[in-house]
């Protein structure tokens, strides 16, 4: 299990909970603004056939912004200081998160070019080497067996086609 221990050397906080709370609330305010803007564009009043398309989303946008403003206000209240000052994520933590997230993004990116099976094999190799510290050779059994199992289960048993790439085409699958 010791391979799974992330580097805990850096416990310094990267960003406070308050800053992150406000940032996410601002993101929701922006979303709310988009919803309201688009609802007004397509009409948020009463048309010939009753309520127009933007009638309901308009209120959703308003409530979204209302809630997000409340979050910002309460995040800045003095009573919330202890929680607000606490760390949202430390440097060590964000490193562990990025080490999972980036390979996942790469995997999804590769999936549309080389197919799911090849991308999955590369993903398992990369993930185990980066996060588990395994040697390349030790990752191979997993990188071969897992995609093979997925292939049998989905394409053969349940007849669900998954994205394929040039490798599968060359193999005539």
């Amino acid at each position: 299990m010791e391979q799974d221990q992330a580097a805990h050397g850096d416990d310094k906080s990267l960003v406070s909970t308050r800053a992150m709370d406000i940032a996410l609330a601002l993101f929701f305010i922006a979303l709310g603004a988009i919803v309201i803007f688009d609802s007004v564009r397509i009409g948020n009043s009463w048309g010939d056939m009753g309520p127009e398309s933007g009638y309901f989303p308009f209120y959703i946008g308003c409530l979204l912004i209302f809630g997000a403003v409340l979050i910002i206000v309460s995040a800045m209240m003095p009573g919330n200081k202890a929680v607000g000052d606490s760390s949202f994520v430390t440097r060590g933590q964000i490193k562990s998160v990025i080490k999972v997230y980036i390979p996942t993004v790469l995997y999804v990116f590769l999936m549309s070019y080389i197919g799911l099976y090849a991308a999955a094999a590369l993903y398992i190799i990369g993930f185990m080497m980066v996060n588990g510290g395994y040697s390349f050779v030790r990752t191979l059994p997993y990188a071969i067996i897992v995609p093979a199992c997925i292939f049998v289960m989905f394409e053969v048993w349940f007849l669900v086609p998954l994205p394929k790439g040039p490798i599968e085409a060359a193999l005539g699958l």
Partner: protein
């Protein structure tokens, strides 16, 4: 007793060899998903949903609902052996479960909790059997205003019962509703928030949000905690089971209190977590050894486990009778029913009798299967949990990506999953509840339709939501629930400041 006859008919539908096999497979998968991080009941069912498209609906729903029972049972395993609550409603299970396991009584603790889960769920199923047809018949009279009012109660209940800040519940729900609006408006045909792209025309499928937020998001959170399972050894053999069952008889009052409490709270959305904590509190109050709670009391384990399984099962009552799921997992089951062309709601009970009673029958049998599977596979589950996370995690994430892809055979959905993962990670860390997002995304279309039709009926007068006794009382319930957090926080502020003033004066 018309229900009993129908139930027996349901049992006949369910008890084919193939269905029994699916039941055990489902339970085992469910337990496994309940214990692995990133694979809860909701996400697990979402991933496996595409695999069931080729089955007949009864077999499919048996397998999917058994995954649900399995995940409800499984939550206790990590809580007791590893002191890691798999879900928020298993938090109370760790209080006395882990100390028991540390004292070398893991087998007794697990047996107790599985039995408690079984009894809690069984009571809730009895409730569903006899209450569901009555509620469904009553709900047949509901029109759009009543339907909309019930939606309001659903989300207001999250605001007052959840432990999260009410403003965050509101934002989470509105985020879900906003996402549900994207795409083509089915009434007028207008394109909403697509900004000229064809990719957004399909809108957001809620299964993608479930897989992204509960799958990827959860794995990101567990990764940063440097997740490792260091547990105590657990051994269950028939002798331990029988001995424990012998001890449980004298706790009958605790079982009874917890299952009634759990079932009542479980019907309301977001009920399972408060139910488990309240059951713990009540068990502590009534127990002779109340002061020993937290050091490994059986009563402290029976309370929350009975209550949370009763609540988790009772959550299916509003899903079946009203079409309103009480939890994300129930929402995913609802999504499955809709994919098979079954519209959950009062009509289901008159139009799809065989299906409904097959499902209810499978709840009884599934829970018995759950008890058997849990008591026999604990060593296997514990062994799987000791596989390094850097091997398990990529496999879970690949399963997530396949689940996301197969919903609509669209690569774009896999990208949405990645984005939802990041949003889910931030929301989870900032203590936003994720369940309202999913529920709002599922119910968005129906809610909007109900609102529009109600508005059409009244020519835009909001007064229609208070126009008759039923709708007005539902609406007032929603308003009271929504403003309860404000009232309690004001009360606390007033009370605390008064008390502080009194303290400083003396």
């Amino acid at each position: 007793m018309e229900e009993l006859g129908l139930l027996l008919g349901g049992m006949q539908t369910v008890l084919t060899p193939m269905n029994v096999v699916l039941m055990f497979v489902g339970i085992f998968l469910g337990v496994l998903m309940g214990v692995l991080p990133g694979l809860g009941g909701a996400n697990g069912i979402a991933i496996l949903l595409p695999l069931t498209f080729s089955m007949d609906p009864v077999s499919a729903i048996i397998m999917l609902s058994c995954i649900y029972w399995g995940s409800l049972f499984g939550g206790a395993i990590t809580a007791i052996i590893f002191n890691i609550p798999g879900c928020s409603y298993s938090v109370a299970t760790t209080f006395d479960g882990y100390p028991l396991a540390k004292r070398g009584m893991a087998g007794e603790a697990l047996t107790t909790s599985f039995t408690a889960s079984f009894i809690g769920a069984f009571f809730a199923i009895l409730l569903i059997t006899f209450l569901a047809p009555i509620i469904a018949e009553y709900a047949l009279r509901f029109g759009p205003p009543e339907y909309f009012a019930i939606m309001c109660v659903t989300f207001a209940a999250f605001m007052s019962m959840g432990k999260e800040a009410a403003s965050k519940v509101l934002v989470a729900a509105m985020f879900g509703f906003g996402l549900a609006c994207v795409g083509m408006d089915v009434v007028t045909g207008a394109l909403r928030m697509t900004f000229g792209t064809s990719e957004l025309m399909r809108g957001f499928e809620f299964l993608i949000a479930v897989i992204g937020m509960f799958g990827l998001g959860e794995i990101l959170v567990s990764m940063e905690e440097g997740l490792s399972f260091k547990g105590v050894a657990a051994k269950i053999d028939p002798k331990v089971v029988l001995k424990t069952w012998g001890m449980l008889g004298k706790h009958w009052a605790n079982f009874l209190r917890s299952m009634v409490l759990g079932s009542c709270l479980g019907i309301a959305p977001a009920g399972a977590t408060p139910a488990s904590f309240m059951a713990y509190g009540i068990a502590k109050k009534f127990s002779k050894n109340g002061d020993k709670f937290g050091t490994g009391e059986l009563d402290g384990l029976i309370g929350p486990e009975t209550a949370n399984n009763a609540a988790g099962t009772a959550a299916l009552l509003p899903m079946l009778t009203l079409g309103i799921p009480g939890s994300p997992t129930a929402a995913v089951l609802l999504g499955g029913l809709m994919i098979w062309g079954l519209q959950p709601g009062p009509l289901l009970f008159t139009e799809q009798k065989d299906f409904v009673w097959g499902l209810i029958a499978s709840m009884y049998l599934g829970n018995i299967a759950g008890l058997i599977v849990c008591l026999t596979t604990v060593p296997l589950i514990a062994a799987i949990l000791r596989v390094p996370f850097s091997i398990i995690a990529p496999i879970i994430l690949i399963a997530c990506s396949i689940g996301a892809y197969t919903v609509a055979n669209a690569q774009g959905d896999v990208w949405y999953m990645v984005v939802f993962g990041a949003i889910g990670y931030c929301m989870k860390k900032l203590k936003y509840p994720l369940a309202p997002v999913v529920l709002a995304l599922v119910l968005g279309g129906g809610t909007e339709n109900a609102f529009r039709q109600a508005m059409l009926m009244s020519n835009g007068e909001l007064g229609i939501f208070f126009s008759n006794g039923i709708v007005a009382s539902i609406m007032w319930l929603a308003i009271i629930l929504a403003f309860l957090p404000v009232v309690t926080s004001l009360y606390q502020k007033f009370y605390v400041s008064k008390k502080m003033a009194a303290d400083s004066a003396s």
